[in-house]
């Protein structure tokens, strides 16, 4: 197999943003979540929790709450605006000023006809949901304090509002408050502070459940306006509540990082006296849990520790299967984010350029000369995507409003960056950017999975052509790969479609048969012109672009089936590349391992020892070949953001240990533990 020199890069300060709010759409099985930097992400829970869409953030957009209305996504934030998002073009569709000051919460009725928002000025505003927009309908009676949380009764006739020191129940028709439920303050020092009702839930039997800053989960009778039961769950705040669809289970997220489950069960066998009983406690976070979603089978939580945790409920799924495993999503799935490594010859030096981007800054680092150049993005919008040309001479990035192109010049001691002033008007914004292998063309994917081709030269940048798929898809492209021989360009979108275009004929060459799971990484082999694709469910396919059919190896792999340990991995492959010295090698990685697949070696069957590198090393040389199989996995380096092979056969491994991220998170609560 061989040895590789490894460059470990650990100085990339990638810092994910805290999760602020989430909303689950049970019909489409999509989870939307918003982060503190204003970015929005959509995860497909039906496809191995794949992060299929990312809408970049924007300065000043502090999203406090999210809400699905049928397939439409709305958010409200402290900037006082309601935003609807265009999920096909990954941008806000429109924003509407609420005129109530900062908006704390947004909630739709179960009929999907109206939206209610809770504002800082004490008003609950009702908006009508129309075909293409929303329209302000009315205000409910204005209250003295801010409205922090809202919940519609399933009938749509009543709204419960969590405020400071109290909960009010409104009649949605008349707008008047019918009940005022007084929430007790905390004990001791907290008695002087108002208690904040961070979250409320209105159930169909008129029970109201509230979570407040004094650490209580209270059960109220919404008809009489009386307190039924108080559960003191934590010393700190209960920040989020989520009720299951059948209203039999409730989750409460706390500042301690725990998620407490309550279930509506009876203590006796005859099932007549059901009540809310605290059952389980999940401790999967180190910091405050600010967002919760209760799906039919799992507990989904997120908060200040930036990780999305999916905890399947063991009575709802089959035990000891892939389905029942705890999942923690720490890194983005698609390399919209961090880095790219290019080993390139710049002038006469064999300098290696390392390139990162963090939200609004792009950094080019020369690995061996430790010089670096930065580009800051102007304006409020954050970066969607970026690319560095193979020659190291061009740098491009896109926000939702513009595309920028820069020339890079390396002159021995430093890197200079100059902006290219005039770009073709057709290039307004791109979901993915990619340079051709000879750095003469820039590919930018736009709406409906089309690709715009721009010819680059010293003098000017000209628009060449637009490549369009025939499928009529409206989804954006999230993966793009150009072949090294300049013949092919492959694109993949969130409809799981993979289109391959011929760059010589400038038209669609073929469409790979659609597989049910979304591709997470793909690349075109430089010599064989085979397209290798890895999907969210960890399946690997190899498709011959010349023959327009799956290769022999791919068929063999599908027949044999992938090893169960490969399929059990819970992070997707985010990058695929090849070895210029050995055409049979495919190098890929996920967060916890990188793997070299040797197509010349036999495939492992289910009984083979899968992680066999250590074993092989202990065997004498002649015996190794008989025990080897094609999947060579290395778990030495973690947590991986990028693994790339340079021309000189050295590996660059960009690691971002989760511990380094944890060390820079905001303050967690101080818990007194025994003997500390």
């Amino acid at each position: 197999m061989g040895e590789f020199k490894v460059h470990r890069v650990r100085f990339f300060d990638y810092m994910p943003s805290a999760i602020r709010a989430m909303a689950f759409n049970s019909r489409t099985e999509r989870l939307a979540l918003s982060r503190a930097d204003g970015a929005l992400e959509v995860f497909n829970f039906a496809d191995s929790y794949f992060q299929e869409k990312v809408i970049p953030g924007q300065d000043g957009r502090a999203v406090e709450a999210l809400c699905w209305v049928r397939g439409r996504l709305f958010s409200a934030g402290l900037n006082g605006e309601i935003t609807e998002y265009d999920l096909e073009n990954l941008r806000p569709k429109y924003t509407m000023e609420a005129y109530g000051g900062p908006v704390w919460t947004i909630c739709s009725n179960s009929q999907g006809t109206h939206l209610a928002i809770g504002c800082e000025d004490g008003t609950v505003k009702i908006f009508e949901v129309l075909e293409e927009t929303i329209r302000f309908q009315r205000n409910l009676d204005r209250q003295k304090g801010r409205i922090i949380s809202l919940s519609w009764h399933p009938s749509g006739a009543l709204i419960a509002a969590g405020m400071m020191d109290m909960i009010k129940v409104f009649n949605a028709e008349s707008g008047h408050a019918t009940h005022r439920l007084l929430v007790e303050r905390g004990v001791g020092a907290s008695k002087s502070r108002e208690v904040v009702v961070w979250s409320v839930a209105f159930l169909s039997d008129h029970t109201i459940i509230s979570g407040d800053s004094a650490g209580k989960v209270q059960v109220w009778d919404g008809v009489t306006g009386t307190l039924v039961r108080t559960h003191l769950v934590t010393k700190w705040d209960v920040l989020a509540l989520s009720v299951s669809r059948d209203e039999s289970s409730l989750l409460a997220g706390t500042s301690e990082g725990t998620v407490v489950q309550f279930q509506f069960i009876s203590s006796t066998v005859d099932q007549h006296d059901k009540e809310w009983v605290r059952t389980r406690t999940f401790k999967n976070h180190t910091h405050d849990v600010r967002a919760l979603a209760h799906t039919d089978t799992a507990v989904v939580s997120g908060g200040m520790d930036t990780q999305l945790v999916v905890r399947p409920l063991l009575e709802k799924v089959e035990k000891n299967t892939q389905e029942s495993a705890l999942r923690k999503i720490a890194f983005p799935h698609v390399m919209l984010a961090p880095c790219m490594v290019n080993g390139c010859r710049i002038s006469d030096t064999n300098a290696k350029l390392l390139f990162f981007y963090i939200i609004c800054h792009l950094t080019c680092l020369c690995l061996f000369c430790t010089t670096c150049a930065n580009v800051s993005v102007s304006g409020d919008d954050h970066i969607c995507c970026s690319a560095l040309s193979p020659c190291g001479g061009w740098l491009a990035y896109s926000t939702i409003s513009s595309v920028r192109l820069y020339r890079l010049q390396y002159n021995g001691s430093n890197i200079s960056i100059t902006k290219v002033a005039k770009l073709p008007k057709v290039l307004r914004s791109a979901h993915q950017l990619c340079f051709s292998s000879d750095s003469s063309k820039l590919f930018a994917s736009t709406t409906h999975s089309s690709v715009i081709i721009i010819a680059l030269s010293q003098s000017e940048c000209k628009y060449l052509h637009t490549l369009r798929p025939k499928s009529g898809t409206r989804q954006p492209v999230h993966l793009m790969s150009a072949s090294e021989d300049g013949k092919w360009l492959a694109t993949a979108n969130s409809d799981c479609e993979i289109h391959v275009y011929s760059l010589h004929k400038l038209k669609l060459h073929c469409t790979v048969p659609v597989y049910s799971s979304c591709p997470t990484a793909m690349a075109i082999h430089p010599t064989t012109s085979n397209l290798v694709m890895v999907h969210a469910d960890q399946q690997i396919f190899e498709y011959s672009l010349v023959q327009k059919e799956y290769t022999e190896w791919s068929r063999k792999l599908q027949k044999q089936g992938l090893h169960h340990l490969w399929l059990a991995r819970d992070t997707p492959i985010t990058h695929l590349t090849f070895n210029p010295r050995n055409p049979a090698h495919i190098i890929m990685h996920d967060t916890y391992m990188f793997c070299i697949i040797d197509q010349n070696l036999p495939l492992p069957d289910q009984k083979t020892l899968f992680y066999n590198q250590m074993t092989l090393r202990s065997l004498p040389e002649p015996e190794r070949t008989s025990h080897s199989h094609s999947f060579k996995i290395c778990k030495t380096f973690q947590h991986l953001l990028c693994v790339s092979l340079l021309e000189d056969h050295s590996l660059v491994v960009v690691e971002r240990p989760l511990l380094d991220i944890a060390s820079q998170l905001p303050a967690p609560v101080r818990q007194k533990k025994f003997a500390t």
Binding site: A18, A36, G60, A62, L78, N79, G80, G101, P102, W104, E120, R146, A189, S190, R193, V196, S213, K235, W236, D237, S255, T286, D288, M304, L659, A662, S663, Q664, L665, P666, A667, P668, V669, R670, K673, T676
Partner: protein
Amino acid sequence: MQHNNNISGVPLFFHRRRCCSVFLFPALNQSRRRLMTSPAPKPAAAESFGSPLDSSDDEAPEEVTFQASKASALQSLKRALDTARREKELLKEKRRRRQELFQEQKVEFPVSWLVVSLKGNYTVQTVKERALASSQQQVALDFLQSRLYGPGSCRTTSNELLSLQNKRGRKKSAAVQFVNKGWGEFSNM
């Protein structure tokens, strides 16, 4: 008996014997004859305002029980305190309203005029009230920050959390030391 020049009428001296309190209220309904004939002003009992006095100087003033006079004294004390408190609150309210008014006036609207010329001599100008919106957003963020991380929130540092995890885990190891001293310190959301 002590005279006092307290015009507000709050009793400052409490005598337990016959007449309990001294008030400097004008002596109403006292017969002129009494005033004129007695050189030393006789203190009038609280209860006996307006009640006819005997013409005879020999008779002692009307008996007022200790309880009654104590009650009346407490009542007037309470009344006076209430008045003082009410006045203070009114002043506070006035001051607060004045302060609010000043704050509103202080906020400068960056005037970005969007001028639209219509037919004839009409123009429409819109002003964008951005500063006010962002100051409200800041107030909301400050509220969130103070509730979650402010005083009484009982927080520690990431350094301590990670170090405790090291010390209490199955594999015990040393406290976490950061290369960059800035890591692990309190930071905001």
